[in-house]
C-alpha cells in the first residue's frame, strides 16, 4: 500500500510530532528495542495507517501518542504538548479530553449497557446528566446503534461491540482517534462497517485518525500508510 494523497480537510497543523523516539523494553537480562529512532509528523485531519509485522513497534508508537507509554529517548509532541512531562494524573485527564482509543478486542465493560459503556469517559467531565445523555445518543447515532442503547455487550455482535467502542472513543469529541487493529477480531462485513465509520469520522467530523493494522484492505481506507519494521519507521514509499 503506497502513500495516498492527503485530503483537503487536513491542514498543515501538526497533531503529532515525534523526533528520534526510541523505546527499549528490558526483560530480565535481555533488552528489546521496540522503537528505534522513529521520527514522524501527523497533520490535523490526516488518516494514517501504521502497518508492519508483529513486534515491529506499531502498537508501541500508538501507545506513546496516547501517553500510556513513555519513550526511552527522543521527543514527542502531541497537540503541541510535551506529554511526557505530564504527571500520571495530568496524562489521564489529557487523554480523557483529547484522545479516543479503539482496541482490537473492544474492551467493553460486560456489566454495563451500550449506553453506559459509551457514557463512561463522560463521568469524568463536569457535564450534567442530560448533557451526557445527549452526547452519548449522538455518538451512538453516528455509529448506527441508537436502537441498541440498553443492550449488554454479550447481546451484541462483534461488529456492534466495536461500533460501541468507537462511540465510546468519540463521545468526548477528541481531536485524535487512535485505533489498534480495530478490525482484527471482525468478519469482513463488520470490518467494512467499522472502517466506513472511521473514514466518515475523518472526513465529516475532521478527526485525525491513526490506525494500526495488518490488513492492506483496512489500510486502503487511510490517506497515508507508513510501515514499521523491527522498530524502525520505513521512509514513505
Amino acid at each position: 500500500m503506497s502513500t495516498a494523497t492527503v485530503p483537503r480537510t487536513a491542514t498543515q497543523t501538526k497533531v503529532v510530532q515525534a523526533r528520534n523516539v526510541s523505546k527499549v523494553f528490558k526483560r530480565d537480562a535481555f533488552e528489546v528495542k521496540a522503537l528505534d529512532d522513529v521520527s514522524i509528523e501527523i497533520g490535523a485531519g490526516e488518516f494514517l495507517a501504521l502497518m508492519g509485522p508483529s513486534g515491529s513497534g506499531k502498537t508501541t508508537l500508538l501507545n506513546m501518542i496516547a501517553a500510556i507509554d513513555r519513550p526511552t529517548s527522543g521527543e514527542l509532541l502531541v497537540l503541541g504538548d510535551n506529554i511526557f512531562r505530564f504527571s500520571d494524573g495530568q496524562s489521564a485527564r489529557w487523554r480523557n479530553e483529547h484522545i479516543g482509543y479503539v482496541f482490537q478486542t473492544f474492551n467493553l465493560i460486560p456489566v454495563l449497557t451500550a449506553f453506559e459503556n459509551v457514557e463512561l469517559p463522560l463521568l469524568l467531565t463536569k457535564l450534567s446528566a442530560q448533557q451526557r445523555r445527549d452526547h452519548v445518543m449522538t455518538a451512538l447515532k453516528l455509529v448506527g446503534l441508537e436502537d441498541r442503547v440498553n443492550h449488554l455487550p454479550k447481546q451484541l455482535s462483534g461488529g456492534q461491540e466495536q461500533r460501541v467502542a468507537i462511540a465510546r472513543a468519540i463521545v468526548s469529541d477528541p481531536t485524535l482517534l487512535l485505533a489498534d487493529e480495530p478490525t482484527g477480531d471482525l468478519d469482513s462485513h463488520s470490518a467494512t462497517e467499522v472502517l466506513d465509520i472511521l473514514k466518515r469520522l475523518n472526513e465529516d467530523s475532521h478527526k485525525t485518525v491513526v490506525m494500526v493494522t495488518h490488513d492492506p484492505h483496512a489500510a486502503s481506507y487511510a490517506h497515508v500508510t507508513r510501515h514499521l519494521e523491527k522498530g524502525m519507521l520505513l521512509p514513505p514509499a
Partner: protein, 383 residues
C-alpha cells in the same frame, strides 16, 4: 449512570460470589453484634439510680458460703447505711427441669425488702398481704405472665439444695424496669423448714444513703468483718451481678477473643474476594486508565466497591443479630441472663463502622496495586 451506580454494578457482577461474600460478612457481623451487645449489657450498662445506691455484702470466700444473720443489725448501725435486708437463694425446682420452668427463688424479709429495692413496684395492698402471710410470696410480673400466675395461686417448689419443699401462695406481683425472673418469699420459711441453718443468710442487700457513700460503706462493712470467722466482701450491685457472670469463666476474654477472631475472619474473606475480583479486572483497570481515570479514581472505585459489600453484609448481620437477641431475651433458659438486653443504635453503628473499616482495609492493598498498574501491561493481560 453515576460513579456510584458504576461501583454497585461492579459489586454485583458475579452475583454468586457477591452473595456468598455478603453472607459471610453478615454472619461474622451477626456474631460481632451479639458479642458487643452482651459486653455492653454485662459491663457497660449502668443500673437504675436506686441500683447505684445499693450494695451487696456476701461471704468473702465465695457466694456459696453463708453469713451470720446478726451481721444485718451491725451493718444497719453503720454510718451511711439506710436499710439492710437478708437474702438467701433457695435453688428449688418448679414443676420440672425444663428451661422454661427455671427461675430464681430467694428467702428474704418482707418487712424491708421493698425498702431496699425501691426500683421494684408493688401495690401496697399486695405488699401488706405478703407481709402478713409467712407462706406467701411475691413474683415478677413478667414471670407471672409467662406462667399465667395470678394472685392466690399456689406454687410448689421442690427443694434441691435444702431437704424440704416450699408451698407458697402468690400474694403480690411486682414490676421492675428490667425483668428479674425471680420470686421472693419469707426467709422465716427456710428457718422453720430447716432449723439447722437458722440464723444464716446468703447475702445482704444494703441501701446506702447516697451513691457517693457507696464505696465508703463497702469499705466500712468489710473492715468491720475483717478478722472474724466469716469475713465479708461488699461490692456495688452491678459488680455483684458481674460476679455471677464471672462464675461462668473469663467472659471478657472469651468475648474479646471471639470478636477478634470474627474481625480477622471477615478481613480475610473480604480481602480474598476483592483480590480475586480486582485481579480478574486487570484489563478493565487498564481500559479505565486509558479512558482518563486517574489512580485516585481507580482506587476509590475498588475501595468503594469493597466498602459497599461489607456494609451490605454488616447491615444484614446487625439487623439479624437484633432480631436474634430479641428472641433470645424471651427464650426459656436464656432470659435470666438476657432479659432486657437489646441491640442499641450505637452498637449497630459500631458494627457498621467495623464492617466499613474491614471493607476499606481489605480492598486497599489490591486496589492500590491496581491503581498503579502499568496500562500497557494491563491491556496485554489475559485473564
Amino acid at each position: 449512570m453515576t460513579l456510584t451506580r458504576f461501583v454497585s454494578k461492579n459489586a454485583f457482577r458475579n452475583k454468586r460470589r457477591t452473595a456468598l461474600t455478603i453472607v459471610s460478612i453478615a454472619f461474622s457481623l451477626l456474631l460481632l453484634t451479639v458479642m458487643m451487645t452482651i459486653w455492653r449489657a454485662f459491663y457497660l450498662t449502668e443500673g437504675s439510680a436506686e441500683s447505684a445506691q445499693r450494695l451487696i455484702t456476701r461471704n468473702k470466700v465465695s457466694l456459696v458460703f453463708w453469713l451470720p444473720s446478726y451481721y444485718r443489725g451491725k451493718i444497719r448501725a453503720m454510718p451511711g447505711v439506710k436499710q439492710v435486708v437478708n437474702e438467701s437463694w433457695f435453688g428449688g425446682q418448679y414443676k420440672d427441669q425444663k428451661p422454661e420452668n427455671m427461675f430464681a427463688q430467694f428467702g428474704t424479709d418482707p418487712q424491708e425488702f421493698f425498702d431496699v429495692y425501691k426500683d421494684l413496684s408493688i401495690p401496697p395492698d399486695q405488699l401488706a398481704a405478703w407481709q402478713k402471710d409467712r407462706a406467701g410470696c411475691v413474683v415478677d410480673a413478667e414471670l407471672a405472665k409467662k406462667h399465667s400466675w395470678k394472685l392466690g395461686d399456689r406454687l410448689f417448689i421442690k427443694g434441691v439444695i435444702f431437704p424440704f419443699d416450699l408451698e407458697l401462695t402468690i400474694r403480690g406481683i411486682f414490676t421492675s424496669n428490667q425483668p428479674t425472673e425471680s420470686i421472693y418469699f419469707n426467709s422465716a420459711y427456710i428457718d422453720e423448714g430447716f432449723p439447722q441453718i437458722k440464723g444464716r443468710a446468703g447475702f445482704f442487700g444494703v441501701l446506702a444513703d447516697s451513691p457517693e457513700n457507696v464505696p465508703k460503706v463497702a469499705k466500712e462493712i468489710d473492715e468491720t468483718f475483717k478478722n472474724v470467722e466469716r469475713p465479708t466482701k461488699t461490692e456495688s450491685e452491678h459488680a455483684f451481678q458481674l460476679g455471677w457472670i464471672a462464675m461462668m469463666g473469663n467472659v471478657k476474654a472469651f468475648i474479646l477473643s471471639i470478636c477478634l477472631a470474627v474481625v480477622f475472619a471477615i478481613l480475610l474473606v473480604s480481602a480474598n474476594t476483592m483480590a480475586m475480583s480486582i485481579r480478574e479486572r486487570t484489563r478493565e483497570v487498564a481500559l479505565l486508565k486509558t479512558l482518563g481515570f486517574t489512580r485516585g479514581k481507580v482506587l476509590v472505585l475498588f475501595v468503594g466497591e469493597a466498602v459497599a459489600l461489607a456494609l451490605a453484609g454488616g447491615l444484614i448481620g446487625a439487623l439479624t443479630a437484633s432480631a436474634l437477641i430479641r428472641a433470645a431475651a424471651n427464650a426459656p433458659g436464656l432470659n435470666f441472663f438476657l432479659s432486657g438486653v437489646r441491640v442499641t443504635g450505637l452498637t449497630m453503628l459500631v458494627a457498621l463502622l467495623v464492617a466499613a473499616t474491614v471493607g476499606l482495609v481489605s480492598a486497599f492493598l489490591p486496589a492500590y496495586h491496581a491503581s498503579r498498574q502499568n496500562i500497557v501491561e494491563g491491556l496485554r493481560h489475559i485473564g
